[in-house]
Structures are given as structure tokens and as C-alpha cells.
Symmetry: C2
Subunit: 440 residues, 2 copies
């Protein structure tokens, strides 16, 4: 992408409304724009990152055997009356009347709808287990949306729903999503810690939040510091291995970790001095097992091997991509801007033409841009006529992992500078070497 | 994907509510499910196809220089009051009040919002031309939604918006989208005919609908039959070539074509006998040039080279992916089911194990499935214990281009049958030959 033809509106001033660093940097880098209170557009740079985050989530859901569909944003009130949540949900639910005056709502979550889909088609235990997910917009009419897309009203969520005949099956489904989440957050460059959590309005009796530690976190969390060294399930993990999945779950729940709602002061104090970690955290995922809470009232039953009807055991598993993006920034930035993990970077590299219009600089940049694009890399070419200082500041701000800097002096020697955004290390090398370094 | 682990709820009976063939086939193939009147879930098979359609649309938008972002579904009423459309839009607009009693709406289109984004950041003609698009859900509260996702209330739309300093620039932007649309529909296996159209509530003075011919089309259309042979712009088309783009536009508008709203009986009758085509059509895209209709009242102005402020010339360009899927089916099916063009097929091939549980059949199918998956193909393996007849009917119904049929007799000879869904032609060949045919 040539920056001269791109739409990346960088703000020079710090926006006053931003209370936390991710909100400030997302606005400054031209990633998002508030359209109404708690409702955002994702501008092109932000959309690129969101796509990469979604793709990683999708790959890991698929790997764990979940199947993607797409449920609509608007739901009929009837469904929620069946489950009993229509009146219980409160003012966070955006209630709508259509032109026929039918009561509708903008889905804040999809347990009811997916249960309705399930009961319409699945009649036998032979079709289980089943895990259906979608990545879709949700709306929760928070009284005080804030922190940019960290807590917005219209937001994106990946929500998966598992269906099993038995409690044991449901626990295995839960463990699979538990392992998939560990892999997902790890690939996003985050160390997330699963913590026993309150089930809230979803209900049920088993629930974990996945929390990353950050000073700006909304919740207080308490855990053993051993978590930092636990292994992440490998790419070739067999998600059908019941014992293997249980082992992952057992390991990651073997030491103390809890949000403030579930905190047990005595248990925490039993941890030896120097191994206790008390910090602030950001919730980036939440998984629930809630048994037959929805299947029973909504009649989602299958025939079991015994010939009888059984309400299915269900769980739900949420990750908010539009929340993950700022969470990654909270965990990875410096005073100059964002530092994207390579897996979600909007571009693999930025080629900075320090003197656009200079024939040698232009030629060097075009050579590098063409070679890397051909190698399948996403490259941003800063071909604008901004001053070099502005270009450096922009490249640092938007956090692309590698900067390739072509100035008249180095180009005269057939060389460019390659800068690592994270470490700040700069290395001078031939144009060819720079291409080989990046294209590899 | 193993069918035994997939969620593809095939209906055996013809659903009564379906009035047109695409709606019937989408329900029968388990692609969609109605959740409320005119509001659908896309089940896994449908979601796969929708993804492929969206990817082609996205590639062609990017090729033509449009830049992707993501605007939210909910908009504030204020924006629409600025443009004057809030009161004018009528009951099709779904109006919503949030908990603070602020008037909102579910966006039926995005001219206002994108104009607001533009005016917030772009101040100089040097940043033009600009074309921003998103693929996002919309809602239009139609009084009589019907034909499944062909005319639903919640639907997906790719809508692009161009911004230019001058009329000439805007016409070039229009021509680029015109050419991109020809390429897009062609890659989707459709021959779409651009027709002068009424601009309707979007406004403006230049507009084309892209129409495919189908007996079930909602609108009557009239055109010269020469369209069938016109060339589609090539993949390496230079979209910056002003004359080249104009030549594409001129060629494709050189002979008569009009929807009934714009029909000129005399001009049509001037076409020689035997070259007139009068048929029913389905609108699959609609493009508009509307000048300063929104930029003027909303103050979207840039400084020109003359130092003065100019309201920008705008156009908008829509394609409805959730409408395109049934349109493709209307254009491509037979009495046994859907016939997907390869570019949007949910799977490249289906491997039919005629006797699941038979060791030789299982082994042959697993070999083929593994080899094709490794070659990067999307393969569906029918490993269920359904009868062979049911498996054949399902494979035909869901319209995967190639079926690889492994029965005990042919497998005993190291062979399988390869069936072309479209022609029905069957060929017996070795397992290796079948793999090579498909993996190539």
C-alpha cells in the first residue's frame, strides 16, 4: 500500500477524551473514530488489525472443531421470553420495535438464538458433540461506555456454543475451548491467565475469565506468578484427546488465580511470599458451562442411546476482538507509539522514502516495495512528501514491526537502514540483504 | 471437513414458504434459516459461500483502489437530519431510541456517515481521489420481505463511496467502479448487464444498475443482446488509465439497456428484430454519481489548487452479497440442486464414501481427503453411514463442482469415479489420477 493513496488520518495532538493509552494511540494512529457515544468506525489501519485478530481467532476455533456460521444482529423478543431473560436483562439490552410494532432487540449475546437453531435440526445424540460459533456485532447499552473500543456499546464478539449429551461431554467441550483460548491469546502476543469467575447473567456453575495483566485493567486480580512459565498447547494438539485436554485444564488451574469477585483472601495468603501476584487485569475472554439452563426451558433435547429424550448440556465461549485490539496495545507500546506483535501487525514492514522525488531514493524504495509485495508481504510504502522526522514519528506511532529507511546518502552506497520497532536497533545493509531479510 | 462432524442440516421436503428456486434450495441445502420475518442466520454451508463471495468483492474493490474500513451498524439521527434524509426516508428506516432516549437508527446505507468521516479528516485536494468501502450489515424494514435472502430486512452490503475534487474526477471514479463491478460479477460466474437506472432515495443524476437475467427477476428489463459477447476488463487492467476506463464504460453503454423505470419504447423498437432482449432481471449491484448532494449540506469541502474551498463530488457503489448468493443460484441450478461456479463453491470437491466402515473404502477416502487437503483444497468427506442414494442426492443438492465416488467395487480395482456436477459426466480413474486431477 502506498501511503500517498491510503487513508490513515494521523492526529498530531493527543485527543483529550482518551483516558487510557490504547484509546489515545488508536485515535492518534487513525485506527478508529467515534461516531456516537460508544459506537466506533474502524478506519482502514484499524480494520486491517481487526481482520488479523479475527483470522487467528477463527483458525483456532476451527482447529478445536468449532464450526462457523453467522447469526443476525437483530433478534425477536419472543426467544428471550422463552428463556426468561427478556425481562431480566435490564437496560443494557437495546429494545427495538419494527414497523409492525413487533418487539425486537439488538443481540447482546446469542444463547437463545443458537439454542433455537439447535432444537430445529438436531434430534439425536449421534449428531453430538457440536460447537457452533460466529464473529458478529453485538450491542450492550452501557450507561457509561469508555476507553474507546475497550468498552463500547456496539462491539464485535466471537461467541461459540457447545452442545453435549452429558456433563462429561460438556466438560470436554469446555476444556477444548479452554485450550483453544490459550493458543489464541498466545498467538496474539498475549499471556492470558484463566481465572475462576462469576457467571453473571449468562448463568451456570463453571466459568473462567481470561485476563491479561495491565495497569489500566478494569478489575483487580490475584494469582500465583507461576502462570508466566506454563506451556501453551502446541499446534498439533489433539483436541479429541479427552485426557490430554483435561491435563491442559488441570495444569492451568492448578495454582491460585481469581478475579476480585471470586477472591479467597486466605487461599491467596497461603501462597509463599514472593510468589503472589496482585495486579490489575483486562478481561479478554470468558467461557461458561451452564448445563441445561437454556436447553431445558427452550426444549433443546436429543434422543440418547437409551431411547429417552435429554436436554443438552451447553456452554458458551466469548472473545471480543474489538476489545482485544486495545488490550494488545495496553500490553505492547512505548512512549513513541504502538508495538504490534508480528501476527497482528497491519503491515509486515514500512518502507520509508526519506526524500520522495529523489530519483535514487524512489528507485530503491520501489525495488524493495515490489520485491516484498511479490514475496507476499504486506508492505506500506511511505512515498509522501512529508519531512523525514514526520515519517519516522508516524512509523513508530503505527507500530509496524520493521522499518526500512532509504535516505539519499545510504542509497548512494546501495544501502538502506533496517530498524526494529521493538528494540529500536538499526542496521545498515544492502538493498538486497534487506529484501532477503524481510522476504524470508 | 468430515460431514459426520459438520453441521449441514439438509431438508428432505420442499419448504412451503419458498416461492422461488433459490430460496427453496438454500433452505433445503441447510444454508440459511429464518430467525424472524426477513432476518436470517447463515448456517455453516451458507457462511462458507458468503465468505467466498465477499472475498472476490473485496479483491476487486482493492484492485480498483478502494480502501476498506468498517462503519458501525447503528447511526445517530443527527447525521441524517444534517443531510435532510431523516424525515424523508420513511418507514423502511428502523428508528431506535437508546437508554438515554437519544434517537438512533440502524443504517440502511452510509452516505451520511462516510461524509462525516471524510469531512473530519480530509482538507486538501491533494488527498483526493479517495474511495472508502465497507462490507457491513444494513437494515431496511421492508413491509413485505420475501424470497429468502434475496429481499431480506437485515442484509449485508458492500458499499463504496468516492470523493473527488471535480466532476471529471468523479466520472473517472465512477468508471473505475463500473469496471470493477464487471470483473466482480464475471468472477462470480454471472453475466451482469449495466442498465441506466433511476437514482431513487440516494439521489443524483447518473446511475447504473447491474442486472442478471433470470425468470424469477423482480424487474422487467430491456436490452440489446450484444451484451452477451462484450469483453470483461482483464486482471491487469490499469484502473488509473482515465481513457481506458472511459473506453470500458463507453463500450458497455453503447447499446440499449434499461430497466422498466428508464425504458424508452421507441429507442428499444429501433433495435433490429432478433436483437432485442426483453426479460426479467435481478439487480445485483447499483452505482450512483450524485455530485455534491451530501457534501454541500454537510460541509465536506477541500481546498482546491486555487486556494478556494470546494464541496467534493461523490458517488456510491453498492453490491449486496446476501442477495448475490441466491442470484447465483437462480442463474445456476438444475432439478437436482445448486451448481456452484468453482469460484464460490463451499468446497472444491466432495469425497463420497459409498460404504463407510468398509476398510478399503475408508482407506481410499482418507487417502484422497488427506492428499487434497494437503494441496490446499477445501474438501468435504461424506463419511456418514447414510445410504449411497442419500449421499448422491446431498452432493447434487449442495452443488459442489466435483464428486469423487469411492464404492467397494471400484476401490477393489484401485479406482474411483469422478463426477462433474454441472455436466453429470462420470469418469473412472485410479485414485492417484483423481488426486492429480483435483490437486492440480
Amino acid at each position: 500500500m502506498r501511503l500517498s493513496r491510503y487513508f490513515m488520518p494521523i492526529l498530531k495532538e493527543n485527543p483529550k477524551e482518551a483516558e487510557i493509552v490504547s484509546h489515545r494511540l488508536m485515535l492518534r494512529a487513525g485506527m478508529i473514530r467515534q461516531q456516537s457515544q460508544g459506537i466506533y468506525s474502524w478506519l482502514p489501519l484499524g480494520k486491517r488489525i481487526l481482520n488479523k485478530v479475527n483470522n487467528i481467532i477463527r483458525e483456532e476455533q476451527n482447529r478445536a472443531g468449532a464450526i462457523e456460521l453467522l447469526m443476525p444482529t437483530l433478534q425477536s423478543a419472543e426467544l428471550w421470553q422463552e428463556s426468561g431473560r427478556y425481562d431480566a436483562y435490564g437496560k443494557e439490552m437495546l429494545r427495538i420495535q419494527d414497523r409492525q410494532e413487533r418487539p425486537m432487540l439488538y443481540g447482546p449475546t446469542n444463547e437463545e438464538m443458537v439454542t433455537d437453531i439447535f432444537r430445529s435440526y438436531v434430534k439425536s445424540y449421534k449428531d453430538l458433540p457440536l460447537n457452533l460459533y460466529h464473529i458478529q456485532l453485538k450491542f450492550r447499552d452501557e450507561i457509561r461506555p469508555r476507553f474507546g473500543t475497550m468498552r463500547s456499546r456496539e462491539f464485535m464478539m466471537k461467541d461459540a456454543y457447545s452442545f453435549d449429551l452429558t456433563l462429561e461431554g460438556a466438560v470436554h467441550s469446555y476444556n477444548k475451548m479452554f485450550a483453544a483460548y490459550l493458543r489464541t491469546f498466545n498467538r496474539l502476543g498475549l499471556r492470558a491467565i484463566p481465572m475462576r469467575a462469576d457467571t453473571g447473567p449468562i448463568g451456570g456453575n463453571l466459568s473462567h475469565e481470561f485476563i491479561i495483566l495491565a495497569d489500566t485493567g478494569e478489575s483487580e486480580v490475584f494469582c500465583h506468578k507461576d502462570f508466566v512459565n506454563f506451556d501453551i498447547p502446541a499446534e498439533d494438539t489433539n483436541f479429541d484427546d479427552v485426557a490430554g485436554m483435561k491435563a491442559v485444564f488441570d495444569k492451568w488451574t492448578s495454582v491460585y488465580a481469581a478475579t476480585s469477585e471470586m477472591h479467597d483472601e486466605a487461599a491467596f495468603n497461603a501462597i509463599p511470599d514472593g510468589e503472589r501476584l496482585s495486579a490489575r487485569g483486562i478481561e479478554v475472554g470468558h467461557i461458561f458451562y451452564f448445563g441445561t439452563k437454556y436447553s431445558e426451558p427452550m426444549g433443546a433435547k436429543v434422543q440418547g442411546p437409551d431411547g429417552k429424550e435429554h436436554a443438552v448440556h451447553m456452554g458458551s465461549y466469548g472473545i471480543g476482538p474489538t476489545r482485544l485490539v486495545p488490550a494488545i496495545i495496553e500490553a505492547s507500546h512505548d512512549e513513541n507509539g504502538i508495538i504490534w506483535p508480528a501476527s497482528v501487525a497491519p503491515f509486515d514492514a514500512v518502507v520509508i522514502n526519506m526524500k520522495a522525488g529523489d530519483q535514487a531514493c524512489d528507485a530503491a524504495c520501489e525495488t524493495i516495495y515490489a520485491a516484498l509485495s511479490k514475496a507476499g508481504k504486506d508492505v506500506l510504502l511511505d512515498d509522501t512528501d512529508d519531512r523525514a522526522g514526520t515519517k519516522f514519528a508516524t512509523a513508530d506511532l503505527i507500530g509496524v514491526p520493521v522499518q526500512i529507511i532509504a535516505g539519499p546518502r545510504s542509497v548512494a552506497n546501495g544501502e538502506v537502514e533496517v530498524k526494529d520497532r521493538k528494540t529500536g536497533a538499526r542496521e545498515t545493509m544492502t538493498i538486497e540483504a534487506a529484501i532477503n531479510r524481510l522476504a524470508g
